[in-house]
Amino acid sequence: MISQIFSLAFLAQTIRITVPYSLASLGGVYSERGGVVNIALEGIILNGAFCATVGTYYTGSALFGVICGIAGGLLTALIHAVVSIHIKADQIISGIAINLFAVGITKFVLEILFHSSSNSDRIPGLPHIHLGFIENQPDVARLLGNPLVLLTIIIVIASQFIIFKTRFGLRLRAVGENPEAADTVGISVTLYRYYGVLISGVLAGLAGAWLAFDQHSFTDGMSAGRGYIALAAMIVGKWNPLGAAAACLLFGFAESLQIQLQGAGLPTQFIQMIPYVATIIVLAGFIGKAVAPGADGVPYEKEK
């Protein structure tokens, strides 16, 4: 039984579940490192999934669909950015409003375009990259052949570098930790906060595109709470790209374990708890104190 659980299929499943979590979670890192709390991730994922589906449906091109998904995420994040940074509204309220709005607008347009409140018509999937050397392992080949999986891995590693080793990353962190100090040395707090939120829109939109292509369609409410799990992973990962991705991997592992164990004859209620118990144990036992960026969630008022 153990060998059946910890198989290549299991590993592949874990990664598949982890990909959308990681992308959204990294989005959260960029946004909050810049000082803007982004619970709108949930709505951004949903809009991203919807735009990716519509883009692919009308052009037949998966690449164009991915671009549409990113654009949809970007536009949704732009709303959050304007409200949070320019209008200086409460960021939580803006996030909730956007999440509600996303549920409504996607369903509304879904009914207009596809005459259904539940799902869109079928779209083609992403092109598969053929990797000769592992074609005899169908699970792994299908996984690594998916361009978004490779892209996600690259983005995770690049983000760690960008946030901690580049001038852009330093400035982004500065406006999130101590905007007054950053402003004094001539960094535009507004500009960098926009960068952070908009990058989160791109990444969460990409997470949405992943969901749409995985399903070959858009279905109502398909983000199914992933934005919130991504936020939790970001906190567990202490606002670090690698940490957040590792936390997502842990959540993905727990969820995959839960799926595999359901076939093993244990009571399902017990198994359903696994991801949540894992979260609590990790939060309480291993991670230690997670400290948010100093000015996270606080609108910046420039002194006159």
Binding site: K88, A97, G104
Partner: protein
């Protein structure tokens, strides 16, 4: 100040936009009191290709053959449900109000008590025989276990691996009824056959998570199941996606789901909400509304069935169909009793 104001305007606009999109009561007010029917859909609303659509079909049938006028509301979330019921109940012209879905159970019971001179009916009402129903409320239940028994028998007869799967949405007594019937059907025709069971979750979200449904199904297929029956709403669309990918069979639920994955949908267990809605409207119109009880629609009442038509005929051998059709008669005559849990 101006900023604060614009924020309020923004939030109100966005929020009202979200609700406007979803809840727009339709229909026109008319004269005669208690002459029309009102219906409140479950979240999902019209076009869900499931029981909301079935209920709507029932309204249409009543309009076409009984000349019944109707109004309906598609609520956007939990708190709107009760107010939607009240909104319809407080209109003079409406005499009978439907709630679609077990989630209405508490709301409709309360509203029925507050409007004693109106009639109410609730599809999938989660009926508790120890509590008295208000006299003006009918609980509509289906014997999903009977329909599930028959699709289970088809799966049991057609599996080549001696393993079949079941995927439920939210773990709840209602969905366990599907599971119990299905397992009984599989075992009745093929005692050796193993049934893998998985649920997508323990909350309402579990009916809307196709990515989870796909992973659950991929996992069951890779464990050797070759036919999977789902009772999981939109989550089941992921099950069909997995069936396509693995080139295995899936069994649909509530409505004929052939179109979700043509060639991979072996059959569907259909639950005829339209029959129930239409029957209740007709009884009400004839002055035979029998409130305070549960009205149960099983195989005998044409309330549940499985799909066997030109699409899936090539997939199901004649002999299998004949055998399952025989089981249907055995259930109707009471020779076979299908468990509910």
């Amino acid at each position: 100040m101006l900023k604060g104001f614009s924020v309020v305007v923004f939030v109100v606009l966005i929020a009202s936009g979200a609700f406007l999109f979803e809840s727009c009561g339709k229909g026109q007010p008319s004269a005669a009191p208690n002459s029309e029917v009102g219906l409140v859909f479950d979240v999902g609303g019209r076009g869900d290709k499931s029981f909301n659509d079935a209920a709507y079909l029932g309204l249409q049938m009543a309009k076409d053959s009984l000349g019944m006028k109707y109004q309906y509301i598609e609520p956007s979330g939990g708190s709107d449900r009760e107010s939607a019921l009240r909104q319809l109940a407080s209109q003079k012209s409406i005499g009978l109000i439907f709630g679609v879905g077990f989630i209405f159970t508490d709301d409709i019971t309360n509203v029925a008590k507050d409007f004693p001179d109106k009639k109410f009916a609730c599809i999938d009402y989660s009926y508790d025989s120890t509590k008295a129903l208000p006299k003006n409320l009918i609980a509509i239940e289906f014997r999903e276990n009977e329909g599930s028994f028959l699709v289970g028998a088809i799966a049991g007869l057609m599996t080549k691996t001696e393993k079949v799967g079941f995927i439920g949405g939210m773990e709840s007594p209602l969905i366990r009824k599907f599971q119990a019937g299905y397992e009984a059907g599989v075992k009745y025709v093929n005692p050796k056959c193993k049934v893998l069971v998985a649920y997508a979750g323990v909350t309402g979200e579990a009916f809307k998570n196709p990515a989870k449904g796909k992973e659950l199904a991929l996992s069951q297929y890779s464990q050797g199941a070759d036919i999977i029956y789902h009772a999981s709403g939109v989550t089941g669309l992921g099950v069909f996606e997995a069936a396509r990918e693995m080139k295995k069979y899936a069994i649909g639920v509530d409505m004929d789901q052939w179109n979700e994955a043509p060639g991979y949908v072996l059959t569907s267990m259909v639950k005829k909400g339209n029959v129930a809605v239409y029957d209740i409207i007709r009884e009400w119109k004839d002055g035979k509304f029998n409130g305070g009880t549960a009205e149960i629609f099983g195989l005998r009442d044409d309330g549940v069935d499985f799909v066997y038509d030109k699409n899936n005929k090539p997939l199901i051998p004649e002999s299998v169909y004949k055998q399952v059709d025989g089981l249907r008669n055995d259930i109707i005559t009471g020779k076979i009793r299908v468990p509910t849990q």
